[in-house]
Assembly symmetry: C2
Homo-oligomer: 603 residues x 2
């Protein structure tokens, strides 16, 4: 099975058109401005010297690279001369300032010894530059960065594989593994694929490798066991997920069943035991990491935007290995919830962490010591010192087309429902839908060279209709199609109350409200204080209300505790009825600082 | 009003007789053995030198002192030649090894410069030695330590007040303030009282004082405002509460209304907003401190045993200033719950932290970094590096008589109900009761020189009977008594379900089970896994069952979630009925490592 490159898919209307327009009109420029102000673009000049201010940070190149990659995806659907010129200039500086070996890193070229410290983000930056190079070439046909990155990859191969002059074996922060696969796919140069395999095979399998940061053990960097033997997703979430992406890529390209099974075990461990209902991962800020099965605290969730996005990357790769809807279901959960909450409705503000509960007063309880229990920030920021998430949001939204389709010789798989026009090996596939606001999806197919279309029936949907005969298999409805055909799919989308497994102790006695793939939340601005003590009765009727944030809000009767000034008092059965308004989780914190809650007490 | 020294009260039977016998027969010796093994007693030789192992720790003297103080209280009710000899030897070493000024500190005599660093526990140790000296003199008539401590107090006055040679003004860890009051009371030497007042007046009122530890701000040490202006209890709980004890003492002895009002504000802020249902305080391990109103997390509660004990100290002092039952109510809450949980049923094991929830699997979630979210330990230990709690438990239980009575010229106040014989200024007062197992208390009074007896009617008791006419005022039932009289009090003690204020977000939707003053909990060993998801219906009947831990256990029907392997699933109203057993909170963690929960989901 293959997936369809986002450059072949144009989002035409609806939910993601709004988001792509926002990225094109606001986010790209705003993130550029913040990166310019914070000297990230200046660092490409490589003229910093000891004593100067603003030493280029070890991961700044990756910020620029992801911005270029995101811009490239947006150029697929909209020209942008101003930003393309900025990207060209940045690329020119990279090409000019790299050394004679093709090495480029704006930090190491002006400071320390290259390839000497595993914990620095040197190969991570290289990987992101490679991804940018591939995307920018595909979008613009400009080959300068791609050529530069091929030369750089050659040099990396020399240092890590041929001459082994590097002082470590595998990168401290995976990323280059999946990037080398992209480099292989665009160039056909198998050495890049093999270099990726070299890194993947050595992760966790090479006791001679350098240790990680002080304070981080071998789990942090997935170094505890060889990747092929992994049974759980551990350590730093983004590191783990980028690495799992490469595992999936290599399993696919080498037809490596063992590697697929390892990747699938990790995937299932995540989605069955270590993932928030929003698709987010990272149960603790300590190591930005997975912890143990079912440990999913809400208020101090880490739930990094980049981790959500990278779970979508991972899921979309697994689709190619196994025609089972569980992967695209996870992608859908991520893209409408834990990834999208990372950006404000105006496109300028970003969350690094996406908790499932905000308690404004209590999130700042450390009054008498500098260090202490840490909670996520409550309002989005335009830039972070470690600003990986903002450009990741750009490439995720600009590249949303990537998730729509996959295909085999005889079947087209429709994985996500988004209004769009796609060209797939000569055939044209259009979707017309206001999903997930409404339940209907119309799919027009022209010049089909496939025998079947397989429509994903989301696991959340218990009631659907198709205007054709179908066979259900592994979560897909397979439909025999004509050369030109029209399919009408209706995914019934009632409001549902969702429970978490009883082993998720932080959600005990609580329900989440979902409609279709969208998770909802209460905000203080609508529902007052002490959201935690408000109850809902799952037998109550819910109503859809205004479409304040791209999908309808939901109203339901709620039950509040009566006022009582005592700290402890005899329990009563008294409640005050109230009308609650829920908004989509992805839109939280867009109306000033206020409390927020996903998991609501069940009456 | 005066309170009655515990040396005049003999506990004769029931709950506290069991605990006092345990301390006498097991705890005193066990703690001594651990302190001996860990070289705390050897440190009194003051022969340590650079390069030797086991440098005397800065707070070791306080451990010895509290042990001697606790032993002294136990000698009031039981002779113990072996341990008295150990105490005598320790005191002999202290007297022998102090310097010519009377200064003694086993750490500073062999290491750094004395009175130079506010953050060290130098005056804290001195204070505890003074308390020990007073108690040991009262119990044994032996005056050596008391004389030594008077000389030491004189030297402290010289260094801090007269010559001002000390490099700080107030101690980093309060304790000496309340100890100096005791020294004044036993010697009649008013300079000691004034020295206490000097420290109390300067706390938070002297911007020239040394700062505290790096990382701790002025709240940590109650340095943010002058004590007279305090409106909230902030910072390190034990430091705050020892200081508040001295405030209460000075308010009483100087008849200082302003100081009383400040102390009362702090007391009410604690009991109305910052205290666990167990009487424990300390919402975070960071700074071992109070945080903000209603922030009372259960699983990562700090709830230090010493903080609970010191709230009892504080409450018992406030009783003398204001004949209101709220103080003795708080004392009762502490002594049956958050303080007593600090020691195992066998008398050998101790908790420093007393959380209201243990989740064995989840309490150890930090898998990939050294530092991380911190949870209390799940099993009691016999000694800690910082072992303040074990000897505090000894003096608290041995001295439990202290909390029973207070009196004015015409009224005897009965503050706690404990089987005992007391001699109070010529009158004899006996209590016969199995409280809090049973509801009846018989009080025999002989040779009364009071007109009234005022019986505390606990705030938890809504239904009581007295065999005499009474007038209820501020939580006390005032009864006119004859010279020889017998009072029968029945405090109806049904099992109650208690809610927390809705601002306590960590208890939302949950109830605690109490019977009389005793808080109950579920343990995994009785009730299985996932206690957090078990519900109880407050309309269900409860039953008292076997008296496994001094008071009856409680059984009630419970509702468990059905098994469901999914991480998220549509909510149902299905439950599995089950029989739950609750045990008294103070007895948790006595049957192996297991989950524990105080706040139970309300169905």
């Amino acid at each position: 099975m293959k997936t369809v490159n986002c450059k072949n898919i144009k989002i035409t209307d609806g939910f993601w058109k709004v988001k792509q327009d926002m990225v094109r009109d606001v986010t790209l420029k705003s993130v550029y401005d913040r990166f310019k102000e914070t000297h990230r673009f200046d660092a490409l000049d490589c003229i910093w010297k000891e004593g100067d201010p603003d030493m280029p940070h070890v991961f700044w190149d990756s910020d620029i690279a992801k911005w270029i990659e995101g811009l490239a995806y947006s150029l697929n659907y909209s020209e942008n001369e101003e930003l393309e010129k900025i990207a060209d200039e940045a690329i020119e500086k990279i090409c000019k300032n790299r050394d004679e070996n093709g090495y480029f890193n704006s930090h190491f070229l002006v400071t320390g010894e290259r390839f000497s410290d595993r914990t620095e983000h040197e190969l991570y930056c290289a990987g992101h530059l490679m991804e940018a190079a591939v995307a920018y070439y595909e979008a613009t046909g400009k080959k300068a960065l791609l050529d530069a990155m091929c030369k750089y990859a050659d040099y990396i191969e020399k240092c890590f594989v041929i001459e082994k002059s590097a002082k470590f074996i595998t990168p401290g922060h995976p990323e280059i593994e999946l990037a080398l696969v992209k480099l292989y796919e665009i160039t056909g140069e198998k050495r890049y694929l093999e270099l990726s395999k070299f890194f993947v095979d050595n992760h966790g399998a090479n006791p001679d490798d350098q240790p990680m940061y002080r304070g981080c053990n071998e789990l942090y960097n997935q170094d505890d066991v060889p990747l092929r033997e992994r049974t759980t997703a551990d350590g730093h979430c983004v590191r783990a997920l980028y690495l799992f992406c490469a595992m999936a890529d290599l399993a696919y390209l080498y037809n490596d069943k063992e590697l697929f099974e390892a990747a699938d075990r990790c995937f299932m461990n995540i989605v069955d035991r270590r993932m928030y209902i929003t698709g987010a991962t990272g149960s603790t800020c300590h190591g930005e990491s997975f912890t143990i099965d079912y440990d999913l605290p809400n208020r101090d969730a880490y739930a990094e935007t980049c981790a959500s996005i990278s779970l979508a990357f991972f899921g979309n790769r697994m689709i190619k290995l196994n025609p089972n809807s569980k992967y695209a279901d996870a992608v859908e959960r991520v893209i409408y919830n834990g990834a999208l909450s990372g950006v404000s409705m105006d496109g300028k503000g970003f969350f690094y962490e996406n908790p499932l509960e905000i308690d404004v007063d209590y999130n700042n309880v450390n009054k008498c010591t500098e260090s202490g229990k840490r909670f996520p920030i409550t309002q989005r920021k335009e830039v972070f010192d470690c600003s990986c998430c903002p450009p990741n949001v750009i490439r995720f939204i600009s590249g949303i087309g990537e998730y729509l389709y996959s295909y085999t010789a005889d079947t087209l798989f429709v994985n996500q429902y988004i209004s769009s026009d796609a060209g797939i090996e000569g055939m044209t596939v259009s979707q017309i839908t206001d999903y997930p606001s409404t339940e209907e999806v119309k799919i027009n197919i022209k010049n089909s060279n496939k025998k079947y279309v397989a429509l994903r029936i989301p696991a959340w949907c218990k009631d659907f209709e198709i205007n054709k005969a179908y066979t259900l298999k592994n979560g897909y409805a397979y439909i025999e199609i004509a050369e030109n055909d029209e399919i009408l799919l209706t995914l019934s989308m009632p409001v549902k109350f969702i429970s978490a497994n009883k082993r998720v102790h932080d959600c005990a006695g609580r329900v989440a409200v979902m409609r279709g793939p969208v998770v909802y939340c209460l905000e203080g601005v609508d529902n007052g204080k002490d959201l935690n003590s408000i109850r809902i009765d799952i037998k109550e009727k819910t109503e859809l209300s205004e479409k304040e944030f791209l999908v309808p809000n939901i109203t339901i009767k709620g039950y509040k505790e009566p006022e009582n000034e005592n700290l402890y008092f005899e329990t009563t059965e008294d409640y005050i009825e109230t009308k609650l308004q829920l908004i989509p989780y992805f839109a939280y914190a867009n109306r000033g600082e206020t409390d927020m809650l996903v998991w609501i007490l069940k009456k």
